[in-house]
Amino acid sequence: MSGREMRDRVCRLAHPRAGVAFMATALLLVALPAAGQQPGDKGSSISKVTRLNRAPVSKEVLRVKLPTPSETTLPNGLRVLILEDHRFPLVNMNLIILGAGATAEPADLPGLASTTAAMLQEGTATRSSKQIAEETEKLGAEINFFAPFGGTTATMSASGLSDNFNEWFALALDELLRPAFPAAELAKWKQRAGVRLKQQRSSPQFLARERSSLAIYCANPDERSTCLPEARVSETAASIEAMTAERLASWHDARYVPQNAILAIAGDVETHALVAKLTHDFAAWKRSDLVDQPPPATRAAGERHVYLVDRPNSVQTTIWLGNIAIDRRDPDYVPVTVANRIFGGGPAARLFLNLREEKGYTYGVYSGFTAVRYAGPWAASGDVTRDVTEGAMHEFLYEITRLGKEPVPDAELDEARRSVVAAFAISLEQPERLINYAVDRAIYSLPADYWETYPAKISAVSAADVTRVAAKYLDPAKLQIVAVGEAKKVLPAFEKYGAVKLYDTQGKRETPPAN
């Protein structure tokens, strides 16, 4: 039950999607005592992770067949991927339009892409906002458009029952192709957007995302003109004010073009008949000359900076440490995937086992990386109780340093690789995951056999690969360190890592508290 509008779906505090890797008992137990007694650790006995190896594990290798969606290109250039799945009376579709995302929008109008997407639901040539909502929901369907900050695409996501597919698909097409951008609805949208601008500042996770994005995507985070488009995480009061129906309509006209789009459909459909229908229904969507341009290139920071957002009364400190790593086409994607599993990709990874299962500093700490059409961050993050901020920082740095220096033990590496491959195999149960693999291949121009050979590529990652990518992308001397918490309590925990730049929750520079 939700009347909420689409929210920004990008989470730059990149969290892993699935579970992970390993652990080598001997290594942790030998290595930890050096870091065992940290400030804030009240000296309770360490709660050790142990392995008894008595549970029965099948060593049989599962033969997995990778179903392949059918691929067609319509006369207007729209690429179509279809995967039939008749188990449930459902159809899910994503229409992904490259070049219509936030990274392509003009610097003076942050939010143009997301506002355009949101306003497609607020009126067409023949339907009012209310009619769209009633007709869609009466069919049990859900149709959303979004273009989140940091994204390179705009997406239409529609799902509904196969029983009445033709009816809700017609609504989706009406919204996509014939929006009216009614002035009255835009005024209402602006009012709500203004409130959301205020609301988001109450979340420590938002504040960490905002500050970390500025840290990695700006030459000087205090000077917005030095920031790449990737740095934006929300509209501004000024840009909301400046949105006009004309700006939205011209963005839609120019950017929502079929030759730059991919339509992925999974569910209870018949491919042949559907392709014929799509060819007919999309005939009115004309191609243009617009060539999709890659987003501006990002660059890793060359020296360490420390940023602290002062959020009074915080009982936890939200910590983020990372730097720009790789884009999706980088050959290091595979070794980084394995290294991340070992480092912080899930509850069986080093960060979780150390900071939560051994130290009890946190409910959860993870690492993750954003590898899209531009190189995003590889980062570790978590919320820790205020009084152990210093100890938690010590452990974060300890784990980062260790990953880049000490070769991963064979058993730990083997388990990490095995878990990545097995998780991939299990994901094939879900048609959306399957079709997303095909979409990734299309968006990033990956080789035709990329997914068939993915398990073999993962299995070939060596301990030296892991050390190399960790040392290269997570160099402690170049890390960007971002925290949100109560400055008067936690500032000293960060000062040992460099001069701390202090901000208030509105994003303004603060002077350090006098002690």
Partner: protein
């Protein structure tokens, strides 16, 4: 209550299972039967959505439910224990959930943390969750790892190994979970106050996460008593969904679980509530919140009753999607609010129904409350439109299909329904029961449960925090 419907051992990161499980039991949908006369625009009969159910009971009382699906070489398993925060006593709030964390701390033949590692290394997803009425543990694995899953679940049901160091460690993790979800978030205190204002009976009145003091007070002896009382085979349901051979699986279940001794059946807690005869109201200041929020709460029918399905329809008609009555009036027409949510839980006792309105700053609380009341009054006075019930049915059918595609989600939902309502077939009957709801049913349910004297209201106001940094 949406925000604390269920708390997880690991957060909701793993394979999205947290999302799948949350509220899944509330799903309804449309069956082919066109028994509702209000539906004028009858569609061709929809494909029925039913899942095979096979039931067994071991000699020690363990209930076993199978639902076979060979479409992918994967299975989902859930072990659901008939214990939740409703079973806690005063001074030990948060205990059921703390205990759930301890179930990952090792057993006779499984080391601390080894459970995570074994499941995840084999590609699986797993978690444990606690709510008011039940505690569950679940994992998904490739079809060839059935022995592993059964061994891990049986070992901790039979011989959980707890020690002081692990208890201290997980107590800290749970306190961090509390800080992350409540103490450091806007509206955290409000979310915790929802059940407190709504219920009189301690069973549902206190929060699942519990108080810091009570968490500190939990001892190793408490853990041992709790384990003996509630973690017995006769107080659990094992559900297995996906790619397996039932006779072979049953033989394995008997091998791993058969030797675990049953225990005396724990007394079922009294969940009854005295009738509420006057409105309740609370005003709260929130130092983190930036905008005001209005919450209205009602105690309604226990789950899975005919009246409960009528309230489920009310919930969708008032707050489901942008066509909903409250969204249209408060957000679009009057622009007094920026979002509206409604939520109904599916509990064996009186279920909570919540309306949550996020106000536009400066908007008049009384005006918002007035409009909510007008809509509640209207439900009592006039029948709802047939298109609104059509929306309820079809939306529910879609959401249910999406949720239940994963074998793991099905295992979790079937286990939850069996533990709470005693019958795994509930997963196959809720669709037609929601379909059967008529405009008159909706009106009667609104009259019975949603009167002014039955409402509880919380007004939350942003309060400027004292400056903490610059002096």
């Amino acid at each position: 209550m949406r925000n604390r419907k269920m708390i997880l051992t690991l957060g909701s990161l793993l394979l999205g299972v947290g999302m799948i499980a949350a509220g899944a039991a509330a799903a309804g949908g449309r069956q082919a039967a066109a028994q509702d006369l209000a539906r004028t625009n009858a569609k061709p009969a929809a494909k029925p959505m039913a899942f095979p159910i096979e039931q067994h009971k071991l000699d020690n009382g363990l209930r076993v439910v199978f639902s076979v699906d060979h479409s992918a070489p994967v299975f989902g398993i859930a072990v659901t224990y008939d214990v939740g925060s409703r079973n806690e006593r005063k001074g030990r709030t948060g205990f059921a959930h703390l205990f759930e964390h301890m179930m990952f701390q090792g057993s006779e033949n499984v080391g601390k943390g080894e459970h995570f590692i074994l499941i995840l290394n084999n590609g699986g997803g797993m978690n444990g969750t606690t709510n008011e009425d039940r505690t569950n543990y679940f994992e998904q694995l490739p079809a060839n790892q059935l022995d592993l899953a059964l061994y891990l679940e049986a070992d901790r049901m039979r011989a959980l190994a707890v020690n002081e160091a692990n208890l201290q460690n997980q107590r800290k993790a749970v306190k961090e979970e509390r800080r992350l979800g409540i103490d450091n978030q806007p509206y955290g205190a409000t979310d915790e106050a929802l059940s407190d204002i709504l219920y009189d009976n301690f069973a549902y009145k206190h929060s699942v996460i519990g108080s810091m003091d009570d968490l500190d007070a939990a001892s190793l002896d408490d853990l041992k008593d709790f384990f003996r009382l509630y973690y017995a085979p006769n107080n659990a349901v094992l559900t297995l969904v996906g790619d397996f051979n039932p006779p072979e699986a049953l033989a394995k279940i008997k091998k791993y679980f058969g030797g675990i001794a049953s225990q005396p059946t724990p007394a079922r807690p009294d969940l009854s509530e005295p009738p509420q005869t006057a409105e309740r109201r609370r005003k709260m200041d929130d130092t983190f919140a930036e905008t005001p929020r209005l919450d209205e709460l009602f105690k309604v029918s226990p789950g899975e009753k005919a009246e409960w399905f009528a309230v489920e329809a009310i919930s969708a008609i008032l707050g489901g999607g942008q066509s909903s009555r409250l969204y249209q009036r408060l957000v679009k027409e009057k622009e007094l609010a920026v979002s509206v949510d409604t939520d109904l839980e599916n509990r064996p006792g009186p279920s909570p129904f919540q309306i949550e309105v996020s106000l536009r700053p400066g908007a008049d609380f009384a005006a918002v409350e007035q409009i909510v009341q007008e809509e509640l009054d209207r439900l009592q006075k006039e029948p709802v439109a047939s298109w609104e019930l059509e929306k309820v049915r079809l939306t529910s059918r879609r959401e249910r299909a999406q949720r239940l595609r994963s074998s793991l989600a099905r295992a979790v939902v079937i286990g939850e329904l069996t533990a709470k309502f005693g019958d795994p077939n509930v997963i196959n009957t809720s669709e037609s029961r929601l379909d059967a709801v008529t405009p008159q049913d909706v009106q009667r349910a609104a009259q019975k449960y949603l009167s002014v004297n039955q409402r509880c209201i919380i007004e939350t106001y942003p309060k400027q925090a004292a400056p903490g940094g610059a002096q």
